[in-house]
């Protein structure tokens, strides 16, 4: 056992509630401790202290993501009375945090259910004031979910759409609405009831990126299932070779496509 191996195990114990239970509750078994001397050391730490620190780290992890990925909704909270950050203080979320695997898709999904319910429940008054409200919630919830899928990214030999990317359709022109919200100018929405289609993807550097999705991008993205060559994709989309390669390269750069070219 080294300091590194022990600290690696400690971090895993703090991240993953199921692993924590395994280490703390099964280490009576002599064989388990013989194979994992780190477990034996960690078992001597108070279970409450480990659980409290794990919850603290999980709460911070998801607070940071809510602040970053729900920033447009939070900006509107003085008008809506709904700040998704407050959901983390609820008893329901306390249970989720205590059973979390920090960064996992499942924990993100459990949290999203609570946040969506909080934002959408009895929201008719908000929608009268901000008719694009549900689109905005859908947009930010999608960003949160996709970020939790980044762990699934694997370099592929043929272009393959990433689990952390999705094309989402909206009734409103969300990029225009978000730009208007950000500019602090009076939000004039009459001209923004125009359907928009966005390619949303989480890339490796922790950013979630959104692009307007053209029909060519959609054709390529949906056809890229890891079984088609660039030439087959080019034929499918009816594009030039250069255009196809450029678009696939751009989609790869933002994490929408996995591809070891």
């Amino acid at each position: 056992m080294t300091g590194r191996s022990l600290h690696d195990t400690l971090l895993r114990v703090l991240r993953d509630s199921a692993f924590r239970e395994q280490v703390l509750d099964q280490c009576d078994h002599a064989a388990a401790c013989a194979h994992h001397p780190e477990w034996h050391v960690i078992r001597r730490v108070s279970k409450d202290d480990l659980t409290n620190m794990a919850r603290f780290l999980a709460r911070h992890y998801y607070t940071e993501r809510i602040v970053r990925l729900f920033r447009h909704i939070r900006r509107l909270s003085p008008r809506t009375g709904r700040d998704p950050r407050l959901v983390l203080d609820s008893p329901q979320v306390q249970v989720i945090l205590d059973h979390a695997v920090v960064g996992s898709r499942q924990t993100a999904e459990n949290l999203m259910s609570c946040i969506e319910e909080y934002l959408l429940e009895n929201d008719s008054a908000i929608r009268l004031q901000l008719p694009f409200w549900r689109d905005l919630v859908h947009y930010q919830v999608t960003m949160f979910r996709l970020e939790a899928c980044r762990e699934d990214q694997r370099p592929m030999h043929l272009p393959c759409r990433s689990a952390s990317a999705r094309i989402a359709e909206f009734e409103w022109d969300l990029p225009a609405i978000i730009a208007a919200l950000h500019s602090s100018q009076e939000l004039l929405i009459e001209d923004k009831k125009v359907a928009s289609k966005l390619l949303i993807s989480a890339c490796a550097d922790q950013q979630v990126i959104t692009h307007r999705c053209s029909s060519s991008v959609q054709l390529l993205f949906e056809a890229a299932d890891g079984t088609k060559t660039v030439e087959q994709l080019r034929q499918h989309a009816g594009l030039s070779k250069q255009h196809t390669e450029e678009m696939l390269g751009q989609m790869k750069a933002i994490g929408a496509i996995q591809w070891k070219d």
Binding site: V45, N52, V102, G103
Partner: protein
């Protein structure tokens, strides 16, 4: 006479107010690069000394070339006199296939103070220091969980780290208060054991009760008189000290807290001449 630079962490949402109060702020520490839509950034960059305090990489692991290039770019962009990094370990060793860890926390967490990790930290700090061309300043992180294995004391570890890597230290007063409490020690005697002669910057903020940890913890609030008293004690014993920073960083930080924190430090430690 000690010529201390007084400053705070840059808070983009307070940028206009910070610029309006520039006469009483010498430096700004940057925990994140400026956002592309930060319209105040050009003026901030021109007006203040900037201290790089971004996440450059986990110092127990080898740097990638991308991380090193980014660190050097940030040093040059900010013209930072040093590059700060936490003595933390927030993700496990990367997997064998691609070198990447399978997860990472995003909140500071201390390493174990063992010989093997000391060796790795020393090596990687040297690499970083050589590449960026300015001193690397390392900030200790408070210990909460104590594991019953042979380790250096925190003070022994930092003496060795400074001696063997050539790094400087950032002393965060609330961090020291929390670590001392964990070890059951008086904070002043805990401080005296640290290599205070290597401290070039001190961070000051407040503590507040944390419901998860069931104890006081770092919070974006003003320092109380106890924290300020410990700060006085430390400032008097850090001969290489050049800067003192109000370390409250939060997207929800109120302007009043920010400016009151800077004012408290300015009144106590500021002098008309800037420290840089």
């Amino acid at each position: 006479m000690t010529r201390l630079s007084v400053g705070a962490f840059y808070q983009p949402h307070l940028a206009e107010s910070i610029l309006a109060s520039a006469d009483h702020i010498d430096h700004l520490a940057l925990a994140d690069p400026p956002r592309h839509d930060d319209l105040s950034w050009p003026n901030i960059q021109q007006r203040f000394t900037l201290l790089l305090h971004d996440f450059l990489g986990q110092l127990s692991e080898p740097f990638t070339s991308t991380q090193l290039i980014r660190a050097r770019d940030l040093v040059q962009r900010y013209r930072s006199p040093w590059a700060a990094e936490h003595l933390q370990r927030i993700h496990p060793t990367g997997n064998k296939d691609n070198g990447r860890p399978d997860f990472s926390f995003d909140y500071v967490f201390p390493p174990l103070y063992t010989d093997d990790l000391l060796h790795d930290y020393v090596h990687n700090i040297r690499v970083l220091q050589e590449y960026v061309g300015v001193p690397v300043a390392i900030e200790p992180i408070p210990t909460v969980l104590q594991l019953d294995v042979p380790q250096f004391t925190e003070a022994e570890f930092f003496h060795r780290l400074c001696d063997e890597s050539g790094c400087c230290l950032i002393l965060d007063i609330p961090h020291a208060v929390l670590s001392a409490a964990t070890y059951g020690r008086d904070v002043r005697s805990f401080l005296l054991d640290l290599p205070l002669h290597r401290v070039i910057e001190i961070h000051v903020a407040g503590l507040a009760f944390n419901a998860d940890l069931h104890r006081p913890w770092i919070a974006p609030v003003l320092p109380d008189k106890d924290i300020l008293g410990v700060t006085d004690f430390a400032v008097a014993r850090t001969p290489a000290l050049r800067a003192i920073t109000f370390d409250a960083f939060s997207p929800t930080l109120q302007a009043e807290t920010f400016f009151e924190g800077v004012r408290l430090l300015w009144e106590r430690f500021g002098c008309p001449a800037h420290g840089f």
